[in-house]
């Protein structure tokens, strides 16, 4: 299996209502051909519904879906050039691995020879040789997962849809398989849409991550951009532990800004989100340092200290009563504080972005 034909996917004002409940609300974005996009958000945010609308299993209440340049609104699932890997894998229990993987080709009435070749190369690609005549029940979770993937890929879809495909695997296997999925997707150059609730999984896999909340698309971007410059407090919290600190705008210019947070001047090298000067900064725990109280910094007191292996996570309370979470990796002897100790918090001089509040 070489590089495939990949298509872009475009969603235009996609909305889905179940009765009075809006599951997906006016979602628009475009996925470039060959990219892997993760839809991520808390459970019930509409990510799976969005995926199912692309697959043709749910009828949008409003809006359009384009695959390539073709509008697929009127196509039932079996006519769409998509293939889905289901959360439960949905392997047909009354068919062998070979029959499962060949199903999509048999349905298309391909010649037997061609079916055999395709299935074998798909099984080889996913290292499933020798399991052809096994029933899905006899396979391990990881193997079942790969059969589901082989079954989807063998039909040469233009778009691969994955609905939390790793949620039934244990933690270690999950990390391994997601690496495999990423490598495979790159190798085949296929467009893929991947739904997950795990932001770490999303970041490690995707070219673009789309964050959804309560049916709305909140932010789309490269993982690092989202982490560094979340557009609102929900995203800031969702993609990692954050301290959100309201700031006083000192200078707001078109291309950058200077603000004051907790008596500390911070420079922001990107255009501020608005001109009205109501901002906050996202201070990730790893962006700050703790020093003994006699050093420079913001005076605070340690509330809790939690040892997490690679780092110690401190929650400190500043003189103004603000709680901050600070991670100290590889702590030196003088950075080991017990609860109740007075400390100085050192803030960064620059942050990647501002939040409008």
């Amino acid at each position: 299996m070489e590089t495939r034909k990949a298509s872009s996917v475009r969603l235009e004002h996609l909305t889905k209502m179940f009765g009075a409940i809006t599951a997906v609300s006016d979602v628009s974005f475009e996925i470039p051909a060959g990219a892997l996009v993760c839809l991520v958000g808390p459970s019930g945010c509409g990510k799976t519904t969005t995926l199912r609308m692309i697959g043709g299993f749910e009828e949008p209440t409003a809006g359009h879906i384009y695959i390539g340049n073709q509008c697929v609104d009127a196509q039932p699932p079996y006519d769409r050039p998509t293939a889905m890997v289901f959360q439960s894998y949905a392997l047909f229990p009354h068919m062998t691995v070979y029959e499962n993987v060949s199903y999509g080709l048999r349905v298309r009435h391909k010649p037997t020879r061609e079916i055999e070749e395709c299935v074998h190369s798909a099984l080889a690609l996913l290292e499933l040789q020798g399991l052809e005549s096994k029933s899905p029940r006899q396979l391990s979770g990881g193997q079942q997962q790969r059969v589901a993937l082989a079954r989807a890929l063998v039909t040469e879809p233009e778009v691969l849809l994955l609905d939390e495909p790793l949620s039934n695997l244990d933690a270690q296997l999950r990390v391994r398989v997601r690496g495999e999925i990423r490598a495979l997707q790159r190798q085949l150059g296929i467009t893929a849409i991947y739904v997950t609730h795990d932001q770490e999984e999303a970041f490690s896999l995707s070219d673009f991550t789309a964050i959804m909340q309560a049916g709305k698309l909140i932010q789309v971007g490269k993982p690092m951009d989202i982490y560094r410059r979340p557009t609102n407090t929900f995203v800031a919290h969702f993609v990692g532990l954050s301290n959100i600190v309201h700031v006083e705008a000192l200078e707001v210019r078109a291309q950058d800004a200077t603000v004051r947070a907790l008596d500390h001047v911070i420079h922001v090298a990107v255009p501020p989100p608005s001109r009205d000067g109501k901002f906050a900064v996202v201070l990730r725990p790893e962006m700050m340092h703790l020093c003994p109280a006699d050093r420079d910094g913001i005076a605070a007191r340690v509330k809790t200290a939690t040892f997490l292996g690679p780092l110690i996570r401190y929650v400190v309370v500043t003189g103004a009563g603000l709680e901050l979470t600070v991670d100290v990796t590889n702590p030196t002897a003088e950075q080991l504080f017990s609860e109740g100790t007075a400390v100085a918090v050192h803030l960064p001089d620059q942050v990647p972005g501002l939040l409008a509040v």
Binding site: T22, C45, G104, V107
Partner: protein
């Protein structure tokens, strides 16, 4: 965490969306229309005709006056009153006994529980009319016990007390099975929590166990209500002068050809039965909280004081003994000249088997055709109502289950009214018997298939469509193989039911299309006891073969055949 928004789509948008989606798939759309059409033709149309006929006068105009006049006929009043009294006594009595049996078999340490459970439920595969025939031979005017042993001259088993006795004993197997299931679904945690809070055994029983089981008990009672109202065979045989609605409607139409009175009686029969059905459905919908608590550990098994334990055991033994003595008498009657008058061994009665080969052929062919057609219809209908979303889906499910609540007599009259006139002239044909058999038994097959489909991972269906398979291919290659055993079970349900269809078939047969079961019934009513019993054993034999077939084909316990 989907939020509701202020702007709601205009009402109907959703329905339009669903319709649009269905319309894009002509095969699916046509299937839905065809199934809906069939349900209408087989169930809705005949039954509504009964009510419509009941509501019009000689000139054919709509009129309730007519109804009012009919109600004042003593014959109608008597039938209604008798049916009412029967329901009032028979239903609570049967429910209480069956609940008691179900409870002790599930929640107590009564001896030999597993064996007892089997022995108690076994009468469900007994030959037809075992109870009624046995009762007459043992306790009839010339019965073995009443006349020969006790020498009673004036004792009569005929009448209301006979009917109540039979209905109560005969409801125990099925009803206790249903109630057992409800008790078994109660989580032990609930009872233990109550005990932990200081409640005594009996208090737990009445404040926790029974209230939790109540929906199940009530739905069993409603099923019994429907069957008591609809019961045609028992009052026909042991009623003798005690007229009930189901029998009276039959007589008015078959003997006096009074369609107006017949349909009016049918309407009176239909209303309470439908009420029972609707209430049953409602309860089933609410029963979920019993299962939500988890069936993992089952109820606490209560230990009883030894004397109560053995008293209960004795009671169960009595039921079992009663049932099996009836069966023994049944066999005795079939193999002797005239039980209990002339006990000479004879095989003469079995000549009836050879005299009725035509009837057997009719029975087998109409039942087989109904089973195959009905089995497929039930599976397709089950697929549509569980896996598809279209306006009217719930209604279709409901109508598919509705025949449960329609007494057989009403179905029979409805079919006469519906298919005796243009554009259908089907009365007297095999075809009408096939149709009425499908209509009669589709609920069981439908429920079996729906239960199986609900357990299927919905993604399986979608995965097949996603891989490019059409709806038809998905149904045949994915769905049917996965619900195979329920599908077969459904077919066999319908076959078994059709073989013993009396109340509606009896109104639709002609001399040419007579059936084994109706012939057996005719033998019983004209006093050819031995011949009737021989035919009963023939049906029994066919049932046993079927049971073996089920176990073979579905690898399921034959007892599942009886579970609703």
């Amino acid at each position: 965490m989907a939020t509701s928004v202020a702007v709601r789509p205009a009402p109907g948008t959703e329905i339009l969306g669903k319709l649009r989606r269905i319309a894009r798939e002509p095969v699916l759309a046509l299937t839905i229309l065809a199934v809906a059409g069939l349900l209408f033709l087989l169930i809705v149309y005949p039954v509504s005709l009964v009510a419509l006929w009941g509501l019009r006068d000689q000139a054919g105009n709509f009129s309730i006056d007519n109804f009012a006049v009919l109600w004042q006929r003593p014959i109608v009043q008597k039938a209604i009153w008798n049916t009412f009294v029967l329901v009032l006594i028979s239903v609570p009595l049967g429910t209480i006994v069956a609940t008691f049996v179900g409870y002790v078999l599930t929640c107590t340490d009564v001896p030999a529980r597993r064996l007892m459970r089997i022995l108690i439920t076994l009468p469900m595969i007994f030959p037809p009319f075992t109870g009624a025939m046995g009762l007459l031979m043992l306790f009839g005017r010339r019965g073995l016990i009443t006349y020969d042993i006790l020498g009673l001259e004036n004792f009569s088993i005929y009448g209301m007390h006979g009917i109540i006795l039979l209905q109560t004993i005969e409801c125990i197997p099925l009803l206790s099975l249903i109630v057992s299931g409800t008790f078994a679904a109660i989580s032990r945690d609930m009872e233990e929590a109550a005990e932990d809070l200081g409640a005594r055994r009996l208090r737990v029983l009445f404040t926790i166990t029974f209230p939790l089981a109540l929906p199940g008990i009530l739905s069993a009672a409603l099923l019994h209500l429907i069957s008591v109202i609809s019961d045609f065979g028992t009052p026909m045989i042991v009623g003798k002068g005690f007229s009930v609605l189901a029998v009276e409607a039959y007589s008015q139409i078959m003997y006096t050809y009074d369609l107006a009175l017949g349909t009016a009686l049918c309407t009176a029969l239909l209303v309470p039965a439908l009420f029972g059905f609707i209430a049953y459905h409602y309860l089933l919908g609410r029963r979920s909280y019993v299962t939500v608590t988890g069936a993992a550990r089952g109820p606490i098994i209560h230990t009883m004081p030894w004397f109560i334990k053995w008293l209960v055991f004795l009671f169960l033994c009595l039921i079992v003994f009663w049932n099996f003595s009836q069966l023994a008498v049944y066999f005795a009657g079939a193999f002797t000249k005239l039980f209990p008058r002339d006990l000479t061994f004879t095989l003469d009665h079995f000549q009836e088997w050879f005299r009725t080969t035509k009837q057997l052929q009719n029975s087998l062919s109409t039942s087989m055709a109904a089973a195959l057609a009905g089995g497929v219809l039930a599976a397709v209908l089950a697929y549509l109502v569980t896996k598809q979303d279209f306006p009217g889906r719930k209604l279709m499910d409901y109508i598919g289950t509705l025949p449960w609540g329609i007494p057989g007599t009403v179905k029979g009259v409805g079919y006469i009214l519906a298919f005796n006139f243009a554009p259908f002239f089907w009365t007297g044909t095999y075809f009408i018997l096939i149709l009425v058999n499908i209509a009669r038994s589709i609920p069981l097959a439908l429920r079996a298939n729906v239960a199986a489909l609900q357990q299927l991972d919905p993604s399986l269906d979608e995965a097949s469509l996603d891989l490019g398979a059409s709806r038809v291919r998905t149904f045949v290659q994915i769905i049917l193989p996965l619900i195979r055993s329920s599908f077969i079970l459904g077919i066999i349900y319908i076959f078994k039911d059709a073989m013993t269809n009396l109340s509606s078939a009896i109104m639709l047969i002609t001399p040419r299309t007579e059936l084994v079961y109706t012939t057996m019934f005719a033998n019983m009513t004209k006093g050819a006891q031995g011949d009737a019993l021989a035919l009963g054993l023939e049906i029994f034999l066919i049932n046993i073969v079927l049971l073996l077939l089920i176990t073979r084909l579905t690898k399921r316990s034959p007892l599942e055949l009886f579970q609703i």
